[in-house]
Point group: C2
Chain length 317, copies 2
């Protein structure tokens, strides 16, 4: 297991800079008053494909040597990693193969195809996904870029908090959502060197709290069929992300589904940015744990902004 270093992150930033946006940081006096601390929202939803995952994906794609690049990249994902990897591959002009369950939302498939990604559908089971992916990879020779358990991906995600620290002049905390742990790992990687006084907090839905339970238990605990509207956070930790989570995360907090939806509405209304339920989990946990953040300078990673506007979570309530 190769653990990415701070220099890997710096190299990643040089590599991806020409291809991604330096996303803006948004603030709101109203939200500061509401939360009792000073909030700095890093708007990763403002990347062209709408998610921070374009950082890690671009680092992997633009780091390939020419020979491998001809064969392209491959992954399995039905989320933002699939579209961001397709987007990065499109920028470099190389093939991207994506294995996705046939049950994935049409909008996700459309986005991958808009960026030139080629989808091979599988059954919605781990066995079918692994078999199908092995076949696709054998046929295409595409380089496997895992959604998060890949040193290139983690180094790429780490470029986000490098920008955030440069944009804010120092923070007491950075809070990011945790699913597989790619963003949190990149955040730990960067801040442990660049701003060791800044504490990394992971925020997780109560209904998919495998990372929280793992963190408290001291070993990876897999979740049994997690179910949350924060659909970017369903996947489990892996060895590489567990390394960062277990060693460098300062604390982990959870929030209920109702709290996540409330936080999402608050951000849409007062920050006026469109972000996914997953991206609302940090604010939900901050509002749940005001004492821990009182009066502090708190960075919040707004991880993505890809939502179905016709199925907003408060439309049913």
């Amino acid at each position: 297991m190769y653990i990415p270093t701070y220099d890997d992150m710096l190299a990643a930033h040089e590599r991806v800079k020409p291809h991604i946006r330096c996303t803006p940081v948004r603030t709101s006096h109203y939200l500061n008053e509401l939360a009792g601390c000073e909030l700095f929202f890093k708007c990763e939803n403002f990347h062209e494909p709408g998610a921070f995952k374009v950082r890690g994906a671009s680092n992997a794609v633009f780091g390939l040597d020419d020979e491998q690049a001809k064969k392209g990249v491959a992954t399995h994902s039905s989320g933002n990693h699939a579209s961001c990897l397709s987007y990065a591959a499109m920028l470099r002009g190389i093939p991207c193969n994506v294995v996705m369950p046939h049950t994935a939302p049409q909008a996700k498939k459309d986005t991958v195809r808009r960026y030139g990604g080629k989808i091979t559908e599988c059954e919605p089971s781990t066995t079918s996904r692994e078999e199908t992916f092995a076949k696709v990879q054998a046929e295409t020779g595409g380089d496997f870029v895992h959604p998060y358990n890949d040193p290139r991906v983690i180094a790429g995600q780490g470029t986000c908090s490098k920008e955030l620290i440069e944009q804010t002049d120092g923070l007491d905390f950075v809070v990011a959502p945790i699913g597989g742990g790619g963003m949190i790992s990149g955040t730990c990687l960067t801040l442990s060197m660049l701003a060791p006084e800044t504490k990394v907090i992971a925020a997780e839905p109560e209904q998919a709290d495998d990372a929280y339970r793992s963190f408290k238990a001291g070993h990876i605990i897999a979740d049994d069929a997690p179910k949350t509207i924060a659909d970017g956070l369903l996947v489990p930790l892996k060895d590489l992300t567990w390394h960062f989570v277990s060693n460098q995360v300062h604390e982990m907090y959870t929030a209920s589904e109702a709290e996540i939806v409330d936080a999402m509405k608050i951000i849409w209304k007062h920050l006026r940015v469109v972000m996914e339920p997953s991206s609302a989990v940090p604010l939900a946990t901050i509002l749940n744990n005001r004492d821990a953040f009182a009066g502090k300078r708190v960075g919040v990673i707004v991880t993505g902004g890809n939502v179905d506007l016709d199925k907003l979570p408060w439309m049913n309530s």
Copy 2:
């Protein structure tokens, strides 16, 4: 009638700079492809009170001498001007009186009160509003800041396109929505001096097209009970804004209600910013008039972001 000058706008910018944000410009490769031109969205919805009107309001409020400031400001509005004037008055620590029909949405009243504005309710008629306002002004001595037909307000709104030109390195067009004409007038005021080659386009809902018909007829035509989801654009032109509209607007385009809702969803989805129906009118008209903008650099003023998330226009469809 005093017509504000370019120097008034420059003075306004110096005056309001410490109190407002220099709002960011957002771009999207996807939207550029869709529209066939290069779009630069000036995100005025990212001001603390969520609308460009904080520029003109702040210019009026911070331009008062100390004696007048003690008596504060007063206006009649049930929209963004009311909350932005209250916000600016709160920043200076002076009174703000707002006359508003009792039928105005509770959310609008709440926002004005959150910023310390004092609301006096009237009946939803012009007569009642004027009578009530005269009474409030006589009692308080508050300086009347009209929502748009005021040289201080127009000079303040003009600071938006000054920033936009500085942020974009030149544009062929700037498209802004038109209601009473405050933003359009400020845009004309600034661009006619700073970037005379940049053409100003006004965008209006078909169902509230009094400015369009006035522009074509060569004199102000008042609308008879306009009805559109772009509720920021219901008010008529006045003498001062007509001066700019009739002399300096290059062209005016309209869009249907369905086109406005479509454009709003496109911006929410692909630009990932929360903006009002009124702010979607420019993109709707650009998509309606592709030939006019083909291959050009086009600035778009995203005027505001105050919406009721529980009553989005596509929720009923």
